[in-house]
């Protein structure tokens, strides 16, 4: 499973979106279930799936899927698959 597929599964699972809705440019405001508890769930999921912790500032500052990918790429996780 590629990292993009792992991230897709995680986003679908955490925010209960339809898999068909997923795309990397999805913004936080486009997902009504991306609330404050959702941020916590996403952070826990990223730790479980990719072994990476978000800092509090990173978690709060995420505005969409691209930001999640950007943080993980900065830590050496590739999404060029």
């Amino acid at each position: 499973m590629t990292n993009t597929e792992k991230l897709k599964d995680l986003i679908v699972d955490v925010f209960l979106i339809d898999p068909k809705e997923f795309h990397p440019d999805l913004k936080r405001e486009q997902i009504e279930t991306w609330d404050s508890l959702g941020v916590v769930s996403l952070a826990v999921g990223v730790q479980e799936t990719f072994g990476q912790h978000f800092t509090q500032d990173e978690a709060i500052g995420i505005t969409g899927i691209r930001d999640v990918i950007g943080i993980l790429e900065a830590r050496g996780i590739s999404f060029d698959e």
Binding site: T33, D35, L37, L42, V44
Partner: protein
């Protein structure tokens, strides 16, 4: 029974073989091995002046307790009364004591309120030791001289199906969780001979009404809300007179309801138990004493009352109130199998719950269910986990055994909140 010489009395051991009746000094004990077997004794005990207790054989663990507490029954209660063994969600045994005359009066009230003159027979699918089945099925039939058709319910589905197929102007009483079992076991069958279908004991299966009307095309369907302490009925609602499973309808004649300060249901009833015995001893109830039954309710102001859940089913999670019956109502819009839940805290120590489905849902079913949560409930209302099991553990009365549910093996994890 009161004149039985001591020398003729049957010793109480062994309790679960041989005769179904055991004599104690203060009352008789009748054990229900099967409804068929205990029925003649039950008739005899009801006709007798002496008080009797009636317990299911699955209550074996409580029988020594019964023997111990029987001495606590004061002399005025040793005649003209009956005792049913019940237990709450804690599993602690409790004996509810009713007056025979009052319960017979309730049967007449129910008969009139539910327009049951056309009913000719009662199909029994619940153990008669269960308060609801005892009064709403056995006693009501006895008072009206109806034919009683005994079955073992879903324990022997073929015999149950035969009874339903052979029904002639019949009444059937079930508990809410059995609606899904009906569909899963007899789906596609039609039983036109059943003309009254009653539900009590747990959530009313409002979402299953279209399917139930297909199976029972001639049946009037009723919500028979009540509790063991009420022996057993408090309210009545014809299914079509409300749109929500939580609508329990209006109080029966002779019953008054009120809402306590914490939203708890309190009731006065001419037919309720007159005393209880539990681990703390004998508790007589004064005629004017309002009794709490552990449910939270709201007066809708239109004569109907609304059930918000058991006290333990309404709680706050991250400051937001959750009423599990409302969540289950959403689940049942999408999922037509059995569903149950149990309480659990999350890793942050916040209250939550786990949803258990049976049988295993398809991935499409699960996806549909998740979309219901997404569209109808905030994240705080979502379960901590969704699990599935081949079957749910049930009490002998058909209700889900919540304690066994939490500890049962072979549950599959379908989804979990990452928190």
């Amino acid at each position: 029974m009161g004149q039985t010489p001591r020398s003729a009395r049957v010793p109480p051991d062994p309790l679960f073989v041989g005769p179904t009746t055991h004599w104690y000094d203060t009352m008789n004990l009748l054990i229900e091995h099967s409804s068929q077997e205990s029925l003649p004794d039950l008739d005899r005990h009801w006709a007798s002046a002496q008080t009797f207790a009636y317990a299911h054989e699955k209550s074996a663990a409580a029988v020594p307790w019964l023997r111990g507490i029987s001495e606590q029954l004061p002399p005025p209660y040793r005649q003209h009364h009956f005792c049913l063994l019940t237990s709450g969600s804690t599993g602690a045994p409790k004996l509810v004591i009713g007056r025979k005359e009052n319960s017979e009066e309730l049967a007449w009230v129910l008969h009139a309120a539910q327009h049951s003159e056309p009913v000719r027979e009662t199909i029994v699918a619940l153990p008669l030791t269960y308060c609801y089945a005892f009064v709403n099925q056995w006693l009501w039939s006895r008072v009206m001289h109806r034919k009683l058709v005994l079955t073992s319910g879903f324990a022997k589905p073929e015999l149950f199906r035969d009874a339903l197929r052979s029904a002639r102007d019949a009444m059937l009483c079930l508990v809410g969780p059995q609606a899904a079992l009906l569909r899963n076991t007899f789906g596609g069958d039609r039983f036109p001979g059943v003309i009254r279908l009653h539900f009590a004991g747990g959530r009313f299966p409002q979402e299953q009404l279209p399917a139930l009307h297909e199976m029972f095309p001639n049946a009037a369907i009723f919500n028979n809300y009540g509790c063991a302490e009420a022996l057993p009925r408090l309210t009545l609602r014809r299914a079509e007179d409300g749109e929500s499973a939580s609508d329990i309808g209006s109080p029966l004649p002779g019953v008054q309801l009120k809402c306590g300060e914490a939203g708890e249901l309190l009731f006065l009833s001419q037919y309720r138990c007159v005393a209880q015995i539990d681990d703390r001893g004998f508790h007589p109830l004064a005629p004017e004493e309002w009794i709490p039954n552990g449910d939270l309710v709201r007066d809708d102001g239109n004569g109907h009352w609304r059930l918000l859940g058991r006290a333990g089913e309404v709680f706050k999670r991250y400051g937001e109130k959750i009423a599990l019956p409302q969540v289950l109502s959403s689940v049942n819009r999408q999922w037509h199998g059995q569903v149950a839940c149990y309480r659990e805290k999350d890793s942050a120590g916040e209250d939550g719950y786990v949803l258990v489905l049976s049988p295993q849902p398809s991935s499409e079913n699960l996806q549909g269910l998740m979309q219901v949560f997404r569209s109808s409930h905030p994240r705080t209302h979502w379960p901590l986990r969704i699990e599935s099991a081949a079957t749910l553990p049930l009490h002998s009365n058909g209700k889900v055994d919540s304690l066994a549910l939490q500890s049962m093996e072979n549950r599959s994890l379908l989804w979990r909140q990452r928190i």
